[in-house]
Symmetry: C2
Subunit: 254 residues, 2 copies
DNA sequence: CGACATTTCCTGTCATGACAAGTGGAGTTC
DNA sequence: GAACTCCACTTGTCATGACAGGAAATGTCG
């Protein structure tokens, strides 16, 4: 019970929204009523409502009680960074087959992305990622040496690399993702089980500390029939980003 | 001077950040100092700081004055919705070649996406979009009839369709984007000047009113060497999404 | 001179009180 | 019955005051 009051109020409201007790479109209790329920003043109550509003969960205005706008609670950072986390969250079974883990001098492109000198030792990891046992993505990740060395003490098949790295004190707080499309090369084709030249959705990711120091760079290539990326965008709320899997609305225009 | 005080404070701080008067990394004035400057109490000052924090502009914490985290002021919605707006914003010249504007009964996939009955009349628009005169994207957009009909009264070459529609009272407040990769079909190949089968970055977009009523559905296919999409993601700030153009860091791993 | 304790500053949190402004419904009038 | 007016309710905005807790500067002691 040491958490601040306004956080507890916000958590409770989030829970009531996520559980369906407050469905989409419902007007939630007035500030005065919340003050009574929590025996609090308007300060913490309004702070909690402001938090939910900033998350895009509720909307509404002057003179009208706030409305529930969406039941979807955002948790972007983890799920966008970690394939395993994301798969677990949507109820799918993540898997992987390690192809290679190697110490290697950095090529120029890698050196640029990681802000190290060309030829400096880096750790390269090549993995095939599976979703419910089916090939979904080929991941080529490069870590700076002092981070990558931690991986040699880690059972790579036992779980999320990111959870392990964060636990070991690596500060992964910033990430930049760039999306484009590339044809499958021979390695991609072999691992993903598609013909060479098949269009793949590529995500290039740089992740690092809050100060901007890069720790990893990755080139991930997805089978577009297995995984897509989504952005939900509203005028008056921050955007929500995420992955999606399987057969979303297959609306192909010809 | 009728705007609320906390908005004026927030605007002023945003201006000072954008202008470089408060560079990235600088600690901005303490709450007490801001209270003096504006002859206000802590309430409005803290509300302004909270707004900037929610926008990801500032960070910092207890006991330490807030720091400027980034000088980039976010305005995601317009630029992600409208190709023209985005191009202008990054200082490139948008262009287009209308291929087709037609009234047509909705096929099943379109009907699903727009929540209308199959066979109902919709307006289909096929455009080639240019960036500095070079082909960048093929856009296949479908509008529900009452929105699409407005386009017949509009000079399609004169500017942004979205600006026009919003001006005419169409409420475009929500958008959902799904990204994957597809091979260029014959039309794509001809318009974009690439061989058929070339991987293209596809964005499927549904946009509509705040209530969730869809007004348009679009299938946009980008030349990945001309345009990419980016997501910047921090642990403690809302994600920033956007397009990028030209030769970003070409870090291709093999 | 360096390590440690103290002090001071700053933000986070919360209470109380007050007024302005918008919404919606009840009551009234035509 | 329809349109209008009025009022209760609700949120937005702002002031004042108070205390806790973290960070950094300062002073002190070995």
């Amino acid at each position: 019970m040491d958490r601040p009051l306004h956080e507890r109020i916000a958590d409770d409201l989030r829970r009531r929204i996520a559980s369906g007790e407050l469905p989409v479109g419902a007007t939630l209790p007035s500030e005065a009523r919340l003050c009574e329920e929590w025996a609090a003043s308007r300060g913490p109550v309004r702070q909690a409502l402001g938090t939910l509003r900033a998350e895009g969960l509720i909307g509404g205005g002057r003179g009208r009680s706030p409305e529930v706008r969406t039941g979807q609670v955002p948790q972007p950072f983890d799920t966008l960074l970690s394939f395993s986390r994301w798969a677990e969250r949507i109820g799918r079974v993540p898997g992987q087959r390690i192809q290679e883990l190697a110490l290697r001098p950095a090529r120029r492109e890698v050196a640029d992305a990681l802000a190290v000198d060309e030829g400096e030792t880096v750790v390269e990891l090549l993995r095939l990622r599976l979703l419910d046992g089916r090939p979904a993505m080929v991941e080529r990740t490069v870590f700076v040496e002092h981070v990558g060395r931690l991986l040699f003490d880690f059972d790579l098949d036992s779980g999320s690399i990111y959870a392990y790295l964060i636990e070991r004190g690596v500060e992964l707080a910033l990430a930049r993702h760039v999306f484009d499309a590339v044809p499958a090369d021979d390695t991609d084709a072999r691992l993903l089980g598609v013909p060479a030249g098949t269009p793949l959705l590529r995500e290039r990711r740089r992740a690092g500390s809050l100060a901007g120091e890069p720790y990893e760079f990755s080139d991930d290539r997805y089978r577009p029939d297995q995984v897509t990326f989504t952005i939900e965008n509203a005028q008056q709320a921050p955007p929500m980003v995420g992955r999606a899997s399987g057969s979303v609305t297959e609306s192909v225009l010809t």
